[in-house]
């Protein structure tokens, strides 16, 4: 797939099959705080994109929109399908959302039950569910952990299981909110390798600029509910003025 990254601050790449298209998304929280003020972006198949920006920029809010947990004004399309109330279940099977704290993501007592949760709620037959659980655990290299209790896992292990819980739904788009927070250097390295190998389009929010530099060819910078830059990671990390203006630092 030819992906053209344009370093122009407001450009988005052109390709024939967008996995994700967000158009002029606006959202205010019930207390009146405007968290998204017209966000537009596109992701092509196979893109791995970092989403950076200071605390409160609206990164998590945007992610919660991508599978319809929050509903703002504007247009969202996943693999060409518009996100509406009616096709919510379908969209949710296509967008795998992994939250920052794995303790929030792993809410079942055992690893198996957690990884099976998504497929079960998609209404798949039992044999399929089991096959998908096995495949997802295989993908994150945790096959031996099927019957373990979630609260016995280390943070790094929990993180990987959390990713498996959405991989089991065979998503077309993986959305990760601050995946490397709280990991020690070794666990972080394991996670980076895992993300590098996964052959899925992904959008990853993070404060970890080293991660950005190592893993993502493309970076989107958000601040105050807007996309303020979108381009090749190399270019963005060189733009000192941009980084300082939005509370970021070179790795």
């Amino acid at each position: 797939m030819p992906v053209t990254h344009i370093t122009n601050q407001f450009a988005t790449p052109e390709c024939d099959d967008n996995v994700l298209m967000v158009n002029e998304l606006r959202f205010s929280y019930p207390d009146g705080h405007a968290a998204l003020n017209g966000v537009s972006l596109k992701l092509c198949v196979g893109d791995k994109v970092a989403l950076v920006g200071p605390n409160g920029a609206g990164k998590s809010t945007l992610m919660l929109h991508l599978n319809g947990i929050l509903h703002g004004q504007g247009d969202i399309q996943i693999a060409g399908k518009r996100l509406t109330r009616d096709n919510l279940p379908l969209i949710r099977s296509m967008v795998g959302l992994v939250f920052q704290n794995p303790d929030d993501q792993l809410f079942s007592p055992t690893v198996f039950e957690d990884v099976a949760f998504g497929p079960l709620h998609m209404g798949l037959p039992e044999a399929d569910v089991r096959a998908r659980v096995d495949a997802a655990l295989e993908a994150v290299r945790m096959s031996g952990y099927r019957d373990r209790l979630s609260h016995h896992l280390s943070v790094g292990e929990k993180k990987r299981i959390a990713i498996a819980t959405v991989l089991s739904m065979n998503p077309s788009l993986l959305v990760l909110d601050e995946p490397s927070a709280g990991l020690d250097p070794r666990a972080r390295r394991t996670l980076i390798n895992l993300l590098r190998e996964l052959p899925i389009t992904m959008l990853v929010s993070t404060h970890d600029m080293t991660l950005v530099k190592e893993l993502f060819p493309r970076t989107i910078v958000m601040d105050e509910g807007l996309v303020v830059a979108d381009g090749l990671t190399g270019d963005i990390l060189e733009d000192e003025a941009l980084l300082t203006a939005h509370g970021l630092e070179k790795p």
């Binding site: 279940p89 099977s93 929030d104 007592p109 055992t110 949760f117 039992e126 209790l149 739904m169």
Partner: protein, 263 residues
């Protein structure tokens, strides 16, 4: 900080570990009912019940004395039953003066007291055994199979999962309080009881807010994976002939205990 210490399950390879959790729950409950039904002083039957426990301890490879060691938990409560020593009319065994009361221990009273303790002690051991040989998630499945309403089993499984997370949080809160519980030379430290209670209440309030917000995030995580108000689970257990056989055997044994206790 880890509260793994909360987990009472002991990983071992034994046929008791592999029994269907329903079987284990049902046998436990019947055993406890049987204990309560045994008349006072049915020593032989008490002995038989304990034999069953010993056998189960042995077969589950926990060691014969496993449940014995942990069974003292109910002992403090025995204090509450101590009055039966003096209150049930019977032959006087021992008399003594306690402050202004003259107390008489009667034979019937002693018999009743001992019987209450033994019943309780046997029952507690069985319950200890149950969680030592059954993983708690399987216990929850057993309750589902036994038609405990889904809303309760769901709450229980969330409770089990977040017990560890939240007790860790409490523990860290208490640590933080402890590490600032300082004194200066010359001053009386500690503050008043009311102030200390208020701090404890604040900690509970803080924990409440964090739990509340966590439940929101969990709800989001569930929604993101297709939850829309109804929970589906796979049924991981199936009764095998082995399970039926063990149930029948245990019930027969418990029934014999009852008959023996009433001869």
């Amino acid at each position: 900080m880890h509260f793994d210490a909360f987990d009472r399950y002991h990983e071992k390879e034994s046929f008791i570990h592999h029994l269907d959790p329903r079987v284990k729950v049902v046998i436990t409950v019947i055993f406890i009912i049987s204990n309560v039904l045994l008349p006072d002083g049915a020593w032989l039957a008490f002995g038989m019940a304990w034999l069953l426990l010993l056998a189960a301890n042995g077969y589950s490879r926990l060691g014969l004395g496993y449940t014995l060691k942990r069974s003292l938990i109910a002992l403090p409560f025995a204090l509450i039953a101590i009055t039966v020593l003096f209150s049930i009319p019977g032959k006087s065994l021992y008399e003594f003066q306690l402050l202004m009361w003259k107390l008489t221990i009667t034979d019937a009273g002693l018999l009743r007291f001992e019987s209450i303790l033994i019943r309780s002690w046997l029952s507690v051991q069985m319950a200890i055994l149950l969680v030592a040989v059954t993983r708690f998630p399987d216990l929850i499945h057993a309750l589902e199979h036994l038609k405990v309403p889904a809303i309760l089993t769901t709450i229980i499984s969330f409770l089990y999962r977040y017990l560890f997370v939240l007790t860790d949080e409490v523990f860290r809160l208490i640590r933080a309080r402890e590490s600032r519980s300082a004194a200066a030379t010359g001053a009386r430290s500690g503050g008043g009881v009311l102030w200390r209670a208020r701090v404890a209440g604040n900690m509970a309030g803080q924990l409440f807010l964090r739990s509340y917000e966590r439940s929101d995030r969990i709800y989001n995580a569930m929604t993101a994976r297709g939850y829309s108000g109804h929970l589906y689970t796979l049924n991981p257990h199936e009764m095998k002939s082995n399970d039926y056989f063990t149930t029948a055997l245990a019930i027969a044994f418990i029934f014999m205990t009852q008959i023996l206790g009433r001869l």
